[in-house]
Symmetry: C2
Subunit: 324 residues, 2 copies
């Protein structure tokens, strides 16, 4: 009989689930909308239904399932299984998500912050295997962070740390969504890239992007900026280089503090690959303390959009085996 | 028979040693010059001689001594006991300090970075007892950092992390001694305080300090700035408030990342107490992510100049008991 673990990545718009073996063989993978606007009950029903579906398609017998991991928006408490508050999910305050799911499914359930789950996925099966100190930055609408030290998730004294996106890089700089000024997130998120590009276009810079969005700047995305850069567009390339440098500044602080062996860059923006990572690496080499850059790999996430779900399943596995 | 541990704080100018019991009773305390300019052999002779003296004055019988901890300038490797390079000590490169001392004294010897030893001292017997996540910032000529997570020293994959003083707060800001721009150290070290005060005085600001140093700006120290602030001097108070705010900005980044329960401020500059810590706390409350500031104490170091030596002895104790 196989042993199977289920992982769910619970995002504000999408639910992503996998059924996976302890050796990392994905037996099933499903994705469905979260329907967050329909309220808490519907979301929980959707999560339960997706778990049941991924169990059906990924296993022959239900008793193969050893546990379920859920990566969810935080702040949350993995020990009590309670989501304290989910800013992007209306009505989610002090929700005992772990117990609610466990009641419905009757299997061991583990809850973890989504960014930590993604970091754990990359540690278990992705770009950070065997790392002693792994940092993961997820560049999307915001910038998420995860820290794995000696195989354990590190999130601080009350599980609300590892907010790597809220590393200040310029204290009198841009306003961040968190209310602070100068956070890394305000410079390297998809939102920030779009903002910086729009400003440049509005100030009259020539670029392929104007045509690519038919003059509708509101249709601009970070993905389009990357596409234009690939086509050789000067502005798009400059924006990506600048973003990479700013990312490198944030990584420098993190590297001086954590002396990590690997920093993994995930999320949609990371698809920009070398346009982003090359200038980031150069900046770290220029700025970091002696020795820090020599042993540091800055790499793209390997598991793509599945890192969260795979990591959540990995957490269930490692908890089950008392290795976490 | 008592059990006694010896701790040595090996600084560029002074050697500080304690003999201490497992319950934290200091049996002897001695201080001598390092004589770093006289070269490696003399320094090692001085360390050995100081250890012998503190053993003689702190114990009745030599077999009471269970182990010796040494906090030394880094980068160093605590596992091999080798000082890789000590920037302020001429000739110190790849020195097998642990083994050299062990050969002479014939007792277990443990080597640790000095800033980590100071943090461990505050964790063991100082301002951070029982903390889950403790950060220590030592504000002196430079800014040292130490991180204790669940009772263990955290210094990264290759023991060269925890450089909390090299948290960037303004990427296009002041040049730091490390070569980078905008590090916390360039804003809140004693050196930075003196620099900022001198610049203000040179630009014509009225202050008691001018008289306190008899117009010799080269005699200005951070300690004098603190004294002038205590006397109500406006410029000195402003400088300290600004330094506190800048310190708070650095702590905000660290707090968002580590979600610590305590941040301990040590080193000579920390004597400024509330002049420094009050504005720092306010800045963290304004800037940190939700929940982070609520459970965070920002406090002065309790062990003063002995934190390094006491921490080094504590490391020897905890290693001996397999708790580290």
């Amino acid at each position: 009989m196989s042993e199977i673990y289920i992982g769910v990545d619970f995002g504000a718009t999408k639910l992503n689930a996998v059924a996976i073996t302890p050796t990392g063989e994905v037996r099933a993978k499903l994705r469905e909308p979260t329907e967050a606007t329909k309220g808490l009950e519907v979301v929980i029903k959707n999560i339960v239904s997706l778990i049941e579906k991924v169990i059906s398609s990924g296993t022959k017998r239900r008793d193969e399932i050893r546990g379920i991991g859920i990566g969810a928006p935080g702040p949350l408490n993995p020990e009590t299984g309670i989501i304290i508050k989910a800013p992007n999910l209306p009505g989610w305050r002090n929700v005992t998500l772990r117990d609610l799911i466990r009641e419905k499914i009757n299997l061991p359930v583990f809850l973890e912050n989504d960014a930590n789950a993604a970091a754990f996925g990359e540690y278990w099966l992705g770009a950070g295997k065997n790392a002693k100190v792994l940092l993961c930055l997820t560049l999307g609408t915001g910038v998420g962070g995860g820290v794995i030290i000696n195989g354990k998730i590190f999130s601080g004294a009350n599980f609300i740390g590892a907010e790597l996106g809220h590393t200040i890089i310029k204290y009198d700089g841009l306003r961040c969504s968190c209310g602070n000024f100068g956070c890394l997130e305000a410079y390297v998120s998809a939102t920030a890239i779009v903002q910086r590009t729009s400003t440049a276009i509005e100030s009259g810079e020539k670029t392929l992007l104007t045509k690519m969005v038919n003059n509708r700047l509101e249709d601009l995305t970070a993905k389009l900026v990357h596409e234009a850069a690939k086509k050789g567009d000067r502005l798009a390339k400059d924006i990506m280089t600048e973003t990479g440098k700013l990312l490198g500044i944030g990584i420098t602080t993190l590297a001086n503090i954590f002396n990590p062996d690997v920093v993994i860059i995930g999320g949609g923006v990371s698809r920009a690959g070398k346009f982003l990572l090359e200038p980031a690496r150069q900046e770290v080499c220029k700025r970091a303390m002696p020795g820090i850059a020599d042993s540091l790999y800055i790499v793209r996430a390997k598991l793509g959009e599945d890192s969260g779900a795979i990591g959540a399943a990995g957490i269930a596995l490692f908890k089950d085996r008392k290795r976490l």
